[in-house]
């Protein structure tokens, strides 16, 4: 019984049947304090520290070059940002 | 089914009980307390009576919590009160300051007992006069009424609620053990004859065009929770939006507004009674239970040919300075008896245009009239 359940669970997913969501990253640069949470905890490694300073001297995030289509709109960055400085919106 | 309201008419009642009946008539429906002699009868009776009129009376874990709960209840729209005595009053100082800066109308009854710290719980004192005015840190003003009889305790409790509601500020009824525990005649007027003041409430629609705190106003209307005002109410010095600020200029504006609510209304707040002062040369200035001994003393002095009179101060804070100034210009001496070692005598002396003699009596019992008579005789000589 246990073995059967395991077998079913391990059935490989047919990726072609799933649509992967695509997210657009929005940032409010003035609010960022460069804590690094967003780029550290993005599961798709989409974000990085930019070289742009906001008026308070913090370098806010940007999407890594070449990763423009990698955001899956999981919202981790917006949940973990202590400054309400970043969020994403799903695009179709 | 009865309304639960006290029956109008003549009653024979304990001061502490009369206070509760008055609170109910004033519209108070929230009591949070912590028991302490000699005020516990207020709390106990509130626990019986408040639920009968649909009100809430709860026991908190200490007096800091009691006053914090009152302010919360007040912002929820209720008229709220507590009762305590010296040690509890000390713990209340923190949140009396909070009620002041948050502009929460609440009523605190202090049935004073004897001595510092735990002192003598069962006996009388008048040692909290300065604390009632100056006990909470920073710059604040309090309104303090001192009853000398059960009837006054009743009347002043209603007045305390009215003042609190009108000025959006904490008001203290500074009773004492004698007034609290004494049984006496009290006349309860029909409800429709009692003047009841209700606070001005903020209309949330106005907040799109005005700020919640207008420091040039007399008293701002109160934003009540759950009505859509969504205003920040802060214990930090705050600006006209209710936001914390460290601006000295805003701090000045805010404090002038808060203090002004009481200072600008001082003359309406002052209550006092005069007995035989018309031709008096020596006037005794007394408050609370001491006014009872003082009246007896003044009568005795008159029978000995001394032109004595009594000024009973009912409002002791804001201090009725003009009353003292005016009276002291036409009498020779003021005599100030207190059941402490000198408290209200200080502002009396500050404002008097004539010599002031103090009569101090160790906390524990009422000052005997003959002690005051002796002082009046010395003053007259």
């Amino acid at each position: 019984m246990g073995a059967l359940a395991l077998k079913i669970l391990r059935e490989p997913i047919n990726l072609a049947l799933f649509r992967r969501p695509l997210g657009q990253v929005y940032i409010i640069p003035e609010r960022c304090k460069e804590c690094g949470f967003c780029w550290s905890f993005c599961p798709m490694d989409v974000l990085e520290r930019s070289d742009q300073f906001n008026p308070n001297g913090y370098r806010y995030p940007r999407v890594k070059p070449g990763k423009e289509n990698d955001c899956i709109n999981c919202k981790m960055c917006s949940l973990i940002c202590p400054e309400l400085a970043i969020y994403t919106v799903e695009v179709s | 089914m009865s309304s639960g309201l006290p029956r109008p008419g003549v009653h024979f009642m304990m001061g502490n009980f009369a206070c509760v009946e008055a609170a109910i008539l004033a519209g108070c429906r929230f009591f949070a307390g912590y028991p302490i002699t000699p005020s516990s009868e207020i709390f106990e009776r509130a626990c019986v009576r408040f639920p009968q009129v649909g009100g809430i009376a709860v026991e908190m874990e200490d007096e800091m919590a009691s006053v914090a709960a009152l302010i919360g209840a007040s912002y929820a729209g209720a008229k709220a009160m507590t009762a305590t005595s010296g040690p509890g009053f000390s713990l209340m100082m923190e949140n009396i300051g909070l009620a002041f800066i948050m502009e929460a109308p609440i009523v605190i009854v202090n049935v004073q007992r004897a001595g510092p710290s735990t002192g003598i719980p069962t006996l009388i004192g008048q040692g909290d006069v300065m604390q009632a005015r100056w006990g909470s840190h920073g710059d604040l003003e309090t309104v303090v009424y001192a009853p000398s009889s059960v009837q006054e305790f009743f009347d002043l409790t209603i007045r305390a609620f009215n003042t609190a509601e009108r000025l959006r500020t904490p008001v203290i009824v500074l009773a004492d053990q004698l007034v609290g525990l004494m049984w006496e005649k009290v006349v309860i007027p029909p409800a429709e004859e009692i003047e009841i003041v209700e606070r001005k409430v903020m209309d949330p629609r106005l907040l799109s065009t005005r700020l919640p705190f207008d420091y040039s106003a007399d008293v701002n209307p109160m934003p009540i929770v759950g009505t859509g005002c969504r205003v920040n109410i802060d214990s930090l010095t705050h600006d006209e939006r209710g936001y914390p600020t460290t601006s000295q200029e805003v701090s000045d504006r805010m404090l002038r507004y808060l203090l002004g609510k009481i200072r600008n209304h001082a003359r309406e707040l002052w209550m006092y009674k005069e007995f035989m002062t018309d031709d008096a040369e020596v006037v005794v200035v007394a408050y609370g239970s001491t006014a009872r001994s003082a009246l007896n003393a003044v009568k005795q002095a008159r029978s000995r040919g001394i032109k004595a009179g009594l000024l009973q101060l009912i409002t002791i804070w804001p201090f009725p300075s003009d009353v003292i100034e005016r009276l002291s210009q036409r009498v020779n001496v003021l005599v100030v008896p207190e059941i402490n070692f000198g408290q209200l005598v200080h502002p009396v002396r500050e404002h008097a245009k004539c010599p002031v003699i103090e009569v101090n009596w160790a906390p524990g019992s009422l000052i005997e009239p003959n002690v005051i008579v002796d002082a009046v005789e010395v003053a007259a000589a």
């Binding site: 308070n56 695009v91 | 006290p6 200490d62 729209g77 949140n95 920040n232 214990s235």
Partner: protein
């Protein structure tokens, strides 16, 4: 897709006094995460914002109330729960949430905390535990782990801290949870759950405080603390609460929704008393 789009407003701004942002908290402070989670939970609760009340005591965390665009109160140090008790007794229909620091809630306010839990007052309490008094520059309090260095424990803390969920559960709360600032989704769900629990609902949120605690305790960057949460957190909703104290020595950091039970709330019992007593006044 473009790289990033610069924006002026955040979707949560309608629940915040966004004109006051950026807030006062340090870079990497976890309080902002908790505040945003609270805003998310309000949004998800289905209860309109004007029916939510946010009450704080004093401290860095105590500043949350001032940023929430709700009926909000920034009270005195330690007294937020007592304040909330009075308010919610008069308006039991409102959703009252206290958000404050560990020092505020469980040290200076510890007595109010246990009594509110014992009475099962129907309010929500979110306590942000950063293991120290952040606002006053980093002193130890009732949650500082044994041995931890702060300005008032320069040789290492010689006090044992409270195990808060254990304490609050023992005192009688209806709902008790612990999450970290890394477990944001679970935190939002727990806050949302608190809003439907009748009775005292409590969440301890473990949070980084880099400058005044982390600095002296091997977490100089906020990310170090977050990384510690990631490595050591163990979700166990059925944990033995007596064994979940936090030492920050690499032991499992147990998180979860530990207690969720139905007990009559203080408000319910008081309303019942009023029903029994009302109209009984003989009119003296």
């Amino acid at each position: 897709m473009t790289q990033v789009v610069k924006a002026q407003r955040h979707p949560r701004d309608r629940l915040l006094r966004s004109e006051r942002l950026p807030h006062i908290w340090c870079p990497g402070c976890g309080i902002g995460i908790v505040m945003a989670a609270y805003a998310d939970a309000i949004e998800a609760s289905g209860i309109p914002p004007e029916k939510h009340v946010c009450i704080s005591g004093i401290g860095c965390t105590g500043r949350v109330s001032g940023y929430m665009h709700l009926d909000s109160f920034h009270t005195t140090h330690g007294r937020a729960i007592a304040f909330a008790t009075g308010l919610s007794l008069v308006r039991p229909d409102l959703e009252v949430t206290v958000i404050s620091g560990d020092g505020d809630i469980c040290t200076i306010g510890g007595n109010h905390l246990i009594h509110a839990a014992r009475r099962n007052v129907d309010i929500n309490v979110i306590m942000v535990n950063n293991f120290n008094y952040g606002m006053t520059g980093g002193q130890h309090g009732g949650t500082t782990p044994l041995g931890a260095k702060t300005y008032t424990s320069p040789y290492g803390n010689f006090e044992n801290p409270f195990n808060i969920p254990y304490l609050v559960a023992a005192a009688g709360a209806s709902f008790v949870a612990r999450w970290t600032t890394l477990h944001v989704r679970q935190l939002i769900n727990a806050i949302k759950r608190m809003m439907s629990v009748e009775g005292f609902a409590f969440i301890e949120v473990i949070s980084p405080c880099p400058p005044t605690f982390g600095e002296f305790n091997n977490f100089p960057e906020a990310l170090d603390m977050m990384e510690y949460f990631r490595k050591h957190s163990v979700v166990d909703h059925n944990a033995d609460l007596s064994k979940i104290d936090i030492r920050l020595q690499g032991e499992p950091l147990v998180v979860g929704n530990f207690v969720d039970r139905r007990r009559p709330s203080y408000q319910e019992l008081i309303q019942e008393t009023i029903r029994r007593a009302s109209g009984r006044g003989e009119g003296i």
